[in-house]
Every structure is written in C-alpha cells, then in structure tokens.
Amino acid sequence: MHPLVQFPRYFSRQLAHLSLLFALCLGLSCTANVPPRAGSTSRNTDPNVGVNPTPTTPMQVGPSPGNTAPTGSVPVGANGMPLVPPEPGPAALRRLTNQEYRNTIQDLLKLPAPPTDPLIPETQSNGYNNFAAALTVPPTLLEQYQTLATRLAKDADIASLAPCVPPASESDCARSFVQTFGASAFRRPLTSAEVDKSLALYALGQMGATYADGIRHVLETMLYSPHLLYRFELGTPLADTRHALTPYEVASELSYLFTASPPDAELVAAAASDALATSAQLEAQARRLLGQARAHQQLRGLLTQWFELPRLPDLTKDPVLYPTFTSSLVASMANESNAFIDSVMWEGDARLSTLLTAPYSFANAELANLYGMPDPGTGADLSRVKLDPRERAGLLTQASVLAAHSKPGDSAPIKRGKFVRTVLLCQPLAPPLPSVIKITVPPPDPTLTTRERFAAHSANPTCAGCHSLIDGVGFGLENFDAIGQFRTSENNKPVDAGGMLTGTDVNGAFSGGVELATKLSTSAQVATCAGLQTYRWMFGRMESPGEPELVQALVGQLGQGQVDLRELLVALTKTDSFLVRTFTP
C-alpha cells in the first residue's frame, strides 16, 4: 500500500458514509460564538454502525465444472498472491434502471427508439441510481410497467415478432415464440415448466380471439415479468457461501455494464457454449461491447453521477444575480460535459488525468459567453474550443460541475471543498459536532468577498478541525461564481483564489482551479477514489471490507492517475468481484 494512502480501519464502511457527511452544513459555516468543546473532532460512535469485524482470508478459487470459475488476471499483490475480495459482494437481484428497462424493451420489440412512457425515478442511493438495494418494484412502478406493457403489446407487429405461416400450426408457432422471445426476455433459456405456463397464457389470450391475441398476451406478460425486471446475480454454489455466477448471468452482467442493454446474440451464444469463463473470453467480450454506441451513454452515466451532475436540471440560481442562468444554459452545460466525456473516452486516451486536466472543452454561443471566449460560431451546437490555461482545465472547472456545487447566490466554497474531499478523494470526514454547535449561513455582505464571509469558522478552533480539510480546497475555486463564470473580483474587491490541500498525498498550496485539478490528477488517492466510484457504479453497491485495497492495487497497476478508465472496467470484469457472489441462505 502506498505509504500515504493509509486506509483507516473500517475504511470501506466509512467510505460508505461519506457523501452525506457535512451534508447539512454545505456552504454553511460554524459561527464563532459557540464555546469550544473538548474532543471537537470526536466521531459518531454509534454502536449500531455496521462494520465487518475481521476480513476473512482470501478465497481459494478452484475449478468449477460448467461454471465461470474465476481465472487468472486478478490483481496481484506485493507478495505475489492474488488480490481477491475477502468476501465477494452479495448475491443479488438487480432491478433494471429505467434506462436499462427502456433499452431492454426497445431491443426485445425491435423498436426504433426506447419507449418513453412514464416511469417513476429510481430511488437514489449514495449518489447512484443503480444500487441493487434501493431499486425495488413498488406498486406505482408496477402499474406503470403494466400500462407500458399493455400499450406495446397492443401495438406490436405480431406478424413480424411471431410469424406463423401454414402448414405450421398456431400452437407450434406459439411454442416457438414462447421459447425464442422468452429466452430474450428472461435472458436465459426458459425451463419447460415456464414454457408450459406461457403457453397457458397464450391459450387464455387466444380463447375466443385470435392467434395474434394469444401472442399479445404472452408478450404483455413477459414485458413486466419479474424475470425480465431483475438482473439475476445469484449464481450456483462454488464453495461455502460462495456462488459463481452462471454463464447467462455473466452475459447479462457484461451487457448491462457496458451497454445498459440485454445481451446481444453474440453474448447469448457465448453463454450457451460456456464461453464466458476465461479471462481472455471475458476481456474479448468487454472490448467488443465497449465498441458499441450505448457504451458511450454508460461511461457518461458513470462519470456524470460521480461528479454529481444529475442534479443539474433541478438547480435554481438567484435570477437577479444570474439572469443568464436559463434552462437553455443549463442544458448547454450538461451537453458540454457529455461531449467532453465522450471526447476523452472515445477520441482521447480515456485517462483520469486527462479528464481532470484537458486543455480543451466544448462550447456553443451561450457557453462561450459564459466563459468569456469568442463565439465559436456554431450557434446552439457545441464545438471544440481551447481553454485559457490560466482559467480552466478539465471537468472540475466546467460550469456544470461548478454550478452544481454552488448555491443559488453563492459560490459555496464549503460545498465545493467538501465535494472534492469526499467525492473526488473519497476521504470520509468526521461528522460535524453535536448540536450544541450552531451552523449558520454567513449573511450576504456587499462589502466582503465570499471568502471573507466564510473566514469565521476557520478561525474558530471548534470548527477548524474539519474545515481546515475543506475550506482550503473550496477557496481555491473562488475564481468561479455560482454559475461557473470566471471572476477576478467580487463586490469590488479582488478575489483570493489561493488554496491549500492538506491530509492528502498531494499536499501544498495552489492557486485556482487549474492548479487544483493538476494536483488532483497526480494524486494516487484520487486515482483510487476514481476506481472506487467506478466499482460502486459497476456493482450497484458500496464496497465491502477488503475491496478498497483490491481497487487500489488494480488502479496502481494501471498507472494511478494515468489509469485508462476503459481499461479499468475491462480489468474489473476479470476479477472475482465480477464473477463470484456471497450467498446468504
């Protein structure tokens, strides 16, 4: 382990708690009029906080006939032993996200576009919309699935989906449809009992009606069957409580990971011939899927959720201070980040450091206006622009990220500092003090800069313990106002964008967003954090004990800040984390 990257005890559980730490003091500061309290950095010692007491020994992976026994290419630690998670993630049912569901339906019915029928938003968990534990099927959603399924079954082109031409009998055609369509819908072959049950549904739909009506009923039912709605990651017994995922489960895991879609014909064929078992086979499929258009959407999904950009549409800014902050500008900000991510991921080197420091971005007329650069002349369309290297570089300095981590009328250095500390560095912060500390908003003051307003708690020893970790980071972004415009003065006073990083592997003073981004791009901690965020998104859960170390080792092997995020994904598909689950009876 890197000497500067000391994971604290129970690291993963603490990581599991970071994004909401300080959640209620975002952009707020302690007032200076509270008495200092002994033990001001004490942590929440709630005994109910779940921790895993002792990591178990690394699993011994043995061959598993007919199964996807993990093989080779797992990260290797210093002692030459494979680094495998001491306890693989839980066997789970992962309900499809709305996007995954829409893609699935589109593919199944060969629609020109994913259906847009309303579906209630996913329950968010720890910043992500795909956490298995949070995604359930509440009644409202089930009813929406039903409405959608009824509509699509009614509109379906049965002649094309389930052709039946004499001399074939309708019952044979129905059986054939149930088997083929069912295998696509359930992402595995149906059992004979399932075929029989679907044929009974066909018979009911066909009774007093037509062949097509019978097919429609089967179709409608399959479109919101639990076997379609959940991705199964249950596996079959390997050893003890460990289960190896089945080839079909691995096929789904791969396809939804890279394309948010069900397995295509090639993956299905690979699953059927048990050709998703070796590292080489997995790697080949992963690389193939990375080449598909929907992979772009997926990488965007990961990175925008990591940078907390899904909140953009909900942002409100003070209309007096920021009259240019319109829904059109917000959309442009989001589009800029998407275009930038696409560019780095698919035209560039896909490296974390490039994401953080690239000297270019994308702008249209209104973004150019916001950035104080010449209008690229493409109207509302984005075109690639060179950034002023004294002002901006990489994702962190884009208006989207800055505006999303500001308040309506305030650059919110505390909020920004906390974002960098907890989300980009993955460093948990001790919870703020108990409620004897009053947390207040420094009121707007036309004679002070934001930095001056927030200075109070830095001077207060009660607050300084944590805020010294946050404020120095956030103050370094003071050149950007609440909508991400560059500024050198505020309230007729010069802006001081001098910042300080402490408690990291890239400690030291810096000035402005570009220097901050540059420092972060060289940090092994940031690189590990990128790996962890990827890991959470990929598996739809927080990491278990031991897994941060695995991620750290893997990211280290892939070059720390130079890590190619696509390669990281490919490498993760070859780990036990991808192939093995812990089954709790």
Partner: protein, 455 residues
C-alpha cells in the same frame, strides 16, 4: 354506472396524462354508506422545525434540547392557519426524536422509524427490518383498501421517511403520476343493462377480457416471485415481498370493480375525483396533493397516507435549490429553504406559516366531511412532525408537531399534555394503538418506555 365509467376512462386514456381537466363528480361510484366509519392514519411531515429561543444551555444535545423554547409555535403565529381546527389538535410536550443520534445529517430516516439504523455517518445503510409507523399501521389495516398506503410529496426529492421492511417508499411528487395511480388506472366493471347499445356491450366485454388477462398475468408473476424467493438468499426476501405486495395491490384494482379500483364502501360526503391544475409550482402541486390525499381517504382508496412537504435539503435534493420567494408572499430574500432552516428568521417563519396553513387546509377538508355523527377528522389520527426541531442546531428534540383528529373518540384534543421527556417512539406506539394495532414497542427497543395516555 357503467356507461359513465367507460366514457370517463376513455377520456382519461385519450388524455394520456398530458392534461388535467376538472373531471365531473363521480357520484356513480358511490355505494351504500358503511355502517361504522373506519379509522385513518395520516402522517404530514415538514422540514426544518421552527425557530427556538437561544442560547441553548448544556453540553448534551438531547438533554439540553428540551430547554429550547419554540418561538411563535402558536395560533397567533406560525399556526395561524390551524386556528379553525384548534379544538381538533393535541399537543404533546416532552417528546423527542432520540433515534436521531447526535449530528445526524439524514434525519428523515429516524423520524417515523424511531430507529437510528437507517443511516450512519451520513450514508444510507441497508436495514432490512426498518419499518416506519405508517407502514406498521398499513401492514395491519392496509388489506382492507385498494391501496395499503399512499405516499404523497410536494417537491419531496428522493428522501426517505417511510420504510416497509427496509424498502424505501419514496413520496410521489408528480401530481400526474399520483392522479393516474388513484383515478385513471384499474379496470372498471362494465355491467350492461337491457338498454345497452351494441358498442356498450362490446366495450363491456373488452373490459371483462382485460380483467381476466391482467389477472392471469398477475397470477403468473406471483408464482414467479415465489419461485424466485425460493432460490434467493435471505437478503433479497424483503425486496421480493414488496414486489409481491405490489402485485396484490394491482389485483385489488381488478377486483374492486370500478374505475380506479373504487368500490369499497363510500362515506356519505361523496367521493369526487379531484380537479388538478397543471403546473409544477409549489402551491399548485401542494393544493393538488392535498386534494388527492383527501379524496383517497374520502373514496376509501386507502386508510393510511403520508404527505411530505418539501425535501429537508439533504445534499442534492430540490430543497437546496428551491427559493420560497417564488411562492410564499412576503419572502424577498433569495435564500433557499435549507439555508433558511439554518438561520431561521422572520422570513423562515413566513415559509413555515405557509406550510402549516396548507396542513390546516387538509385538516379542514377532513373536518368539513361529515361522517357518522361527526367528521372524517374525528375518525382520523393525523401526526404532524418535522425532520428536526431546529434546523440550525440539527436537533431531534423537542418534537415540534402535534396530533390532529380524535381517533374515533379515543384521543382528547384541544389540549396539551406533557409526556415527560420520552422518545417519539412512545407517541408512535400510542397512535398505533388508537388505530387498533396492538404493539407495545416500535423502532429500537431502547427508545421505548410506555405508551402515552391520549384519552
């Protein structure tokens, strides 16, 4: 009855949820008034508590909290909109949310669960046996209605107050989604009399066919869920149970025999489909949600409901962005509601007064609905509670809320009682007991002392 129903349903299908019109009164669906009125359980939540007198003395947050004195929490101030229902309220002093441990950023988890385990150090924790009081009640009485419970929200965000066996039940903040769920889904019974036209007979047959087919799909899903339960580990059982209860709820929509699944006995006041104005602004959504919640109760679609007024402002939820100046008269500062909670001032009071007036409007609707010898409010148990007592201090105590409704005569309102510094859990247990749910503890056992005497 059938003709009107089918036409209205066709209308709704054509509207496709795109527009909301005033829909005619739906008296056709009325059935005989029930003999005895049922009890309803309603939870109304609001964020940020109220202003409190300062300074707080004492180092211990929980012990010291009870010394904080709320400012303006009376009918001449924040509660002015509740003055007309003053005699229907019960105030309980000496109650606190003890499950909100120290500086607990994610407070909503603990308020209705009486349990500190739903979150830790600011992150959400999976807690399979977490149940909020509304769900504890719904488990006991929810089988009697179309919906076991309903969660309404007004700019609620993705915050989690209600838990059913560990599953988070997010509030629905989109009036269209809620409206569709309540009044535009389900399969109406289409009985045809001797005067029915050919088209009406066909429409009725189509409805019967739809009912039969949908039931067969739901039967199949229930079978599939049982099969999946058998091969899944213990960790996934709750998720599958929730799925199964969703299936059962859709079945009720098929069986209950008229639009929206209405068809359980109707109160005398009449069951009307609410008129909903399109719009996303807070007052319009709030009015729509109040109206729909009332009608859901009035039409006996459910007997357990909650309405979450605004997100509390946890990072990333709409409350950190929403500016009350756009909808609360008199507020001019451009502070979001979350910032206001941290530095409560006169403008914060205006916002809280506004929210309480909306709560008052719902209570008034219930009070205006005659039922038995009294009102629907008399047969309700309404808990009004905040995420915390004071936003600036992040305190769970004291409880800044109240109980409304007489619980069918079991609750003596129009007064204040002193519980003697006990946990919210005791109040939850007491209210559940009024609802006929015989529990002696809820949430974490360590927070339970003994039920309160509310009579």
């Amino acid at each position: 009855m059938s003709k009107a129903l089918i036409r209205r349903r066709q209308l709704l299908f054509r509207l496709g949820g795109a527009a909301f019109l005033a829909v005619p009164v739906f008296r056709d669906t009325l059935r005989e008034a029930r003999a005895a009125s049922p009890l309803r359980f309603i939870v109304l939540t609001y964020p940020g508590g109220v202003r409190c007198a300062e300074p707080l003395t004492g180092e211990n947050a929980v012990a010291g909290a009870f010394d904080m004195k709320p400012i303006g929490f009376d009918f001449g101030g924040l509660l002015s909109g509740l003055a007309p229902v003053q005699s229907d309220l019960l105030f309980v002093d000496g109650i606190g949310n003890f499950a909100m441990a120290e500086f607990n950023a994610h407070t909503p988890h603990s308020v209705l669960t009486g349990d500190s385990r739903g979150q830790a150090e600011g992150m959400e924790m999976e807690t399979p046996d977490l149940n909020s009081i509304d769900q504890i009640v719904a488990k006991a009485i929810g089988t009697q209605t179309r919906f076991a419970s309903l969660q309404f929200g007004v700019v609620a965000g993705s915050e989690h107050w209600s838990f059913l066996n560990g599953s988070r039940l997010d509030a629905v903040s989109d009036p269209k989604v809620m409206f569709t769920r309540l009044f535009a889904n389900g399969v109406p019974t289409a009985s045809t009399g001797s005067g029915a036209t050919q088209a009406e007979v066909q429409a009725a047959a189509a409805m019967e066919r739809l009912r039969t087919l949908r039931q067969s799909s739901l039967d199949e899903f229930a079978d599939e869920i049982q099969g999946i339960k058998a091969i899944s580990g213990s960790l996934e059982q709750q998720k599958l149970d929730l799925h199964l209860s969703s299936i059962r709820e859709l079945e009720k929509g098929l069986l209950s025999g008229s639009a929206g699944g209405i068809g359980v006995s109707m109160p005398g006041a009449g069951c009307a489909v609410p008129s909903i104005t399109a719009g996303s602004d807070v007052p319009a959504v709030g009015a729509a949600m109040n109206d729909m919640l009332f009608q859901a109760i009035n039409c006996d679609l459910t007997r357990v409901a909650s309405l979450q007024w605004l997100g509390t402002g946890i990072d990333g939820t709409p409350c950190t962005a929403i500016l009350p100046s756009s909808w609360v008269p008199g507020v001019t500062s451009e502070k979001n509601h979350h910032s206001m909670q941290h530095e409560p001032d006169a403008e914060f009071d205006l916002v809280q007064t506004w929210i309480f007036s909306q709560i008052g409007a719902l209570l008034q609707k219930l009070k205006n609905a005659p039922e038995g010898g009294g009102s629907m409010l008399d047969n309700s148990v309404v808990l009004v509670v905040s995420s915390m007592s004071h936003g600036g201090y992040h305190m769970g105590s004291p409880f800044i809320g109240f109980v409304a409704g007489k619980g069918g005569g079991q609750i003596r309102t129009g007064r204040t009682i002193d519980a003697g510094r006990v946990a919210l859990n005791d109040l939850h247990v007491s209210l559940a007991n009024v609802m006929g749910v015989n529990i002696t503890t809820m949430g974490e056992a360590k927070f339970n002392k003994s039920p309160l005497n509310l009579g």
